[in-house]
């Protein structure tokens, strides 16, 4: 739980549903691929801690919240579309940085 991590992500789920499993699996996969070593994922199960839903304005599950870097971004759904997730989190995919920058 080092504070130094550049990417702090929080995944809200409601119970261990297949959908939340998928979301978590997808998220881990993308992070390993593009943000290796720079990220930290916190999973919050709202069935256990419902009081946390208000703070991050969660209404749909699963919801991925990018706490750091700011501004806060939210992605809802099972994160099955890699491109959308990356755009949503504003992650520059590995190996495409120059192209994106040039754009």
């Amino acid at each position: 739980m080092a504070k130094a991590k550049a990417w702090q992500l929080r995944l809200y789920i409601a119970g261990e549903t297949p959908r939340s499993q998928t979301a978590l699996k997808n998220l881990k996969q993308y992070c390993e691929k593009h943000l290796k070593g720079q990220y930290e994922i916190e999973v919050i199960d709202l069935l256990i801690k419902p009081q946390l839903a208000e703070g991050d304005q969660i209404f749909a599950v699963p919801t991925l919240v990018r706490k750091v870097p700011e501004p806060i971004r939210k992605i809802i759904g099972d994160l099955s579309n890699e491109e959308k997730v990356l755009v949503g989190l504003n992650i520059i995919p590995v190996g495409m940085s120059s192209a994106v920058k040039g754009n």
Binding site: A53, F59, I75, G77, N81, K84
Partner: protein
């Protein structure tokens, strides 16, 4: 369940049950839907109890129609009046904004939140912050609402406005399915919920929420006609319950929402046989000597300047003199103006105001819509509890509504007043001078008594005439009386019938004078005759005296005659005696002579 209860079989079964069981069970099938009272003024009356308990209700309407306020009041009243905690899920406003917005209505949300009676959860959905990928559901929202409900044990929930979700999320299919699930879930939770929805084009709500919430739908409306806005409320549907179907006007003021349960469709108001004086003794006399019935409605109509306001004020004055309360609704003049003007006819209204018996409520008709006027009147009457009210004049209300609307308002007002046993006096201005009319805002058929004031133009002057067109249940005079407004007050003059009908004003005075003159003349004539009779009597008396005198003298004469005769007889006798004596002495003896003298002496004595 319900149908089962209503079958004849069930009824039969019921009858065979023991009475104790029956009394317990009978309650359930006979009672309609259980309801949650809202505590909102008048609303519970038109819904016959409130919103369906444990079910969601949809409240839809345009922006600014009062949806949020209605929902907030529902929660606040629930907490304050019925001790039912509530949850407010706000999709539009932040908790602080909401608190501020309703603070002006005297709702202290912060305090209620602190007391753990109210929870406000602001669900913020910002499209720019949100990306959607793949499948999701709204369990997050469910959990939030569920948590809020459970944390304070809420019985009432408001979702304001859930449609904002549609703006934030793109996957409509998911959203719709989830909303359906949400409402179902709220039902299972057993909370009475209000869901608000913005009115769409041609539909009740923009996103067709009415499809999901099918138990009770209420439409709020905010219409502007002739630059005057009126809020209205209509119950579009209420499954399993009777309800009023009309559009009910409602008012938002410092006490929150007041809905007007306008028409009690039944004519069941109690009636009183008590009478109230009109304040004009001579007018009372025209109404069988006692005035109007308590709780009746009186219309005073007439052209300009015929004394309608004076009559109205006089009635108010009378009510207060008798110790009753009265509200004077002035739509034309300010209270000061009326008080000053009434001073000129010897009426002191100030003392009644000081005593708290009389209350003036002056407002321009254009201040707000007709319905609002009605709601204001309604509220004031509920607060002040007067014995009588005066509305002066109702014709001015026409400026803010059509004749039909005014009539409907007045019908409902009269209805309400009758149920409250408040006597009401309307004044109405008639525009034309021809008095045929059933006009007068069409209320003439509704009112119990109708008094008409009119101008009588005769001999180059204008006078006021008053007559009673109708007065239900009171024997009333059919005369047209002259109505006089003097320094001492109002009075009705006696009828003066001249050769050309009724005389008024100076013609009446002239007639009076003439009558007086005739009286004097005839008195004089009578006097003369009396004297003549006296004289005659004296004359006759005199004659009688003379005759008497004559009679006396005759009588005297006759009497004298008879005495004379007697004397003469006596004298004659004496003479005869003397003669015989003389003859005896000349030729007879002594003895015989002596005896005869004695005998003569005895005879004379």
């Amino acid at each position: 369940m319900k149908t089962q209860f209503n079958t004849p079989d069930f009824q039969k079964e019921m009858n065979t049950m023991t009475t104790s069981m029956k009394s317990k069970i009978q309650f359930a099938p006979q009672k309609t839907l259980p309801k949650t009272p809202t505590g909102i003024n008048g609303f519970d009356e038109i819904t016959m109890g409130g919103l369906p308990e444990g079910r969601p209700t949809l409240i839809c309407g345009e922006a600014g129609s009062g949806k949020t306020l209605f929902s907030t009041e529902f929660l606040v009243r629930g907490i304050v009046q019925f001790n039912e905690p509530g949850v407010f899920i706000a999709f539009e406003e932040k908790a602080e904004e909401l608190s501020k917005n309703v603070a002006s209505l005297g709702f202290d949300l912060k305090k209620l939140v602190k007391q753990q009676k109210l929870r406000i959860d602001y669900v913020h959905i910002k499209r720019t912050e949100i990306e959607e990928t793949g499948e999701y559901d709204l369990d997050g929202l469910f959990i939030r609402i569920g948590h809020a409900i459970d944390s304070i044990g809420a019985k009432r929930v408001v979702l304001d406005t859930v449609e904002n979700l549609f703006a934030g999320l793109t996957n409509q299919a998911v959203l719709r399915a989830e909303l359906r699930r949400l409402f179902q879930w709220l039902k299972e939770k057993g909370v009475t919920a209000i869901i608000t929805g913005e009115k769409g084009n041609g539909t009740l709500t923009r996103e067709g929420l009415e499809e999901y919430v099918s138990d009770c739908v209420i439409l709020l409306d905010h219409r502007v006609s002739n630059q005057i806005s009126t809020r209205r409320l209509r119950i579009v549907k209420y499954r399993g319950s009777l309800h009023g179907t009309n559009e009910y006007p409602f008012l938002i003021d410092e006490d929150g929402i007041s809905v007007l349960p306008v028409t009690s469709l039944k004519l069941e108001a109690k009636v009183s046989s008590n009478r109230v004086s009109t304040g004009v003794p001579t007018l009372d006399l025209m109404l069988a000597g006692k005035g109007f019935y308590q709780g009746s409605s009186i219309l005073i109509s007439g052209t300009a300047g015929t004394g309608k306001t004076s009559l109205g004020a006089s009635f108010a004055n009378q009510v207060c003199n008798e110790g009753g309360r009265c509200i004077y609704f002035a739509f034309e003049e300010s209270p000061e103006q009326i008080i000053r003007n009434m001073h000129s006819i010897g009426m002191n209204l100030e003392k009644h105001i000081a005593k708290g018996l009389l209350k003036f409520h002056a407002s321009r008709p254009t201040l707000y819509g007709l319905e609002m006027h009605l709601v204001m009147i309604y509220k004031l009457i509920k607060q002040f509890k007067p014995a009588a009210i005066v509305l002066d004049p109702i014709s001015n209300l026409i400026t803010v509504g059509s004749v039909g609307e005014v009539k409907s308002i007045l019908t409902r007002l009269i209805d309400f007043l009758q149920s409250e046993q408040v006597t009401v006096m309307f004044t109405a201005l008639t525009m034309n001078t021809i008095v045929n009319d059933q006009t007068d805002e069409g209320v003439s058929s509704l009112v119990d008594s109708w008094i008409l004031l009119r101008d009588i133009e005769l001999n180059g002057e204008r006078n006021r005439g008053l007559y009673i067109i109708k007065s239900r249940g009171i024997k009333h005079s059919n005369q047209v009386r002259e109505f006089v407004i003097s320094n001492e007050g109002l009075r009705l003059e006696d009828v003066y019938l001249g050769p050309e009908g009724i005389l008024t004003g100076s013609a009446r005075e002239a007639h009076k004078l003439q009558k007086q003159m005739e009286n004097i003349l005839s008195k004089h004539a009578l006097g003369r005759k009396d004297k003549e009779i006296e004289r005659k009597a004296q004359e006759l008396q005199a004659r009688i005296a003379t005759l008497n005198f004559e009679f006396e003298s005759i009588k005297e004469a006759l009497k004298n005659d008879s005495i004379e005769e007697e004397l003469r007889q006596e004298v004659l006798q004496q003479n005869v005696d003397k003669e015989t004596l003389f003859r005896d002495n000349k030729s007879g003896g002594g003895r015989e002579n002596g005896r005869s003298i004695n005998a003569g002496k005895n005879k004379r004595k």
